[in-house]
Symmetry: C3
Subunit: 156 residues, 3 copies
């Protein structure tokens, strides 16, 4: 079984599937660029559709925040799939930076971002192992809750 | 005509020119570093000269914000030119992260950053195509309005 | 004398030493990942131990902030040492992004981060020369004062 099929089966076991059309760029840029074995992605978000809106600790609970982070991770996987036409080119995910729209007294950004990290670890297996940085944002563009910045790796 | 000359002509058609002296580092660091076909730049900003000061949605309007972003993009181009002595080493711009000093109720950071993206696209043509992430900052160092973080690519 | 020993002697001359156990990841991720001559690190911080807590300009003075930044730089060096079992694989530090938890009216983030940059420059010598970006954060995870995001380079 191809690795891409494994990825799809693992997603299915969670009742998740890739977005067939990742949201288009919100401006004068592109969804992804590839260079020298590294892939660069436009913002992967918890959705511009208003499903998750606002800051964790205010409008969004910790549990909802984790789900928002999982949604952003699914957006990231969808974009990688689109960029490489699957996951078989030895995809790696060396680093994930996660930005969490946060109430002023909310400090549990790492816990929120585990919603994304756990999805990457489960779905990609060893290839999903990543280092991570977490940030608190006062707000994010279009009131989104989570924005991920990922550089992925692939076999050229 | 060399690609570098094309770049200069396109800038000239907008009545813009590269900064002959990009602002020196504001601390104990260097303006750029090159490694393995990637170039790393110190902060590219809308200027420490006070031309643009403060947050979009407060002191700075959306239209001024776009101009500030264009100014930061010009700073970036100037630094790349300085690092590679021109643009002929197959310069690429795989990713642009843009940080916008923002009033608490301002959510149109992508629109602001289009001021930078459109300059890159127009001046560098296909080689300027980039993915992008946008962030809202409560403030930025020295009260600047826009800070870009760019890793560029070049032929070794 | 090996370069690794030189690094240790320079640290010792400042009465500093590497952390024997860098803080473990605060979530479902790894402390570092290596890919294609680049090393990616999990957040390097001024410590989750509460030694430095809160924002520069509020609970933390400018001088304490510089010390917090130096502490985060020591964390970074410790993680690089751990990732490469020393510093002899031609370590480079092309870029440092520094996030400073900041009071709303504090704009001297570059000065704070010089506490980190000066340690890198002194301890690693030429190989520590880096470009840098500085950001103001309203808060950082777990109330930490400084978070660094570094991609390092090494000989494969």
């Amino acid at each position: 079984m191809s690795y891409t099929r494994e990825v799809f089966q693992r997603l299915q076991s969670l009742s998740l599937k890739l977005l067939s059309n990742p949201p288009p760029p919100a401006g004068a840029y592109f969804g992804f660029r590839l260079h020298a074995g590294f892939g660069f992605l436009a913002a992967q978000t918890s959705g511009y559709d208003g499903r998750f809106t606002g800051a964790v600790g205010n409008e969004i609970s910790l549990e909802q925040g984790k789900l928002a982070a999982q949604t952003a991770a699914l957006d990231a996987l969808s974009r990688i799939h689109q960029a490489l036409s699957g996951f078989d080119r030895r995809v790696g995910l060396p680093h994930v930076a996660g930005h969490v729209a946060s109430a002023p007294d909310f400090f549990e950004q790492p816990e929120v971002l585990n919603g994304a990290s756990r999805l990457f670890n489960f779905v990609l297996g060893e290839r999903g192992r990543h280092s991570r940085t977490a940030y608190a944002a006062p707000q994010l563009p279009k009131r989104i809750t989570i924005e991920l910045e990922i550089t992925f790796a692939y076999r050229r």
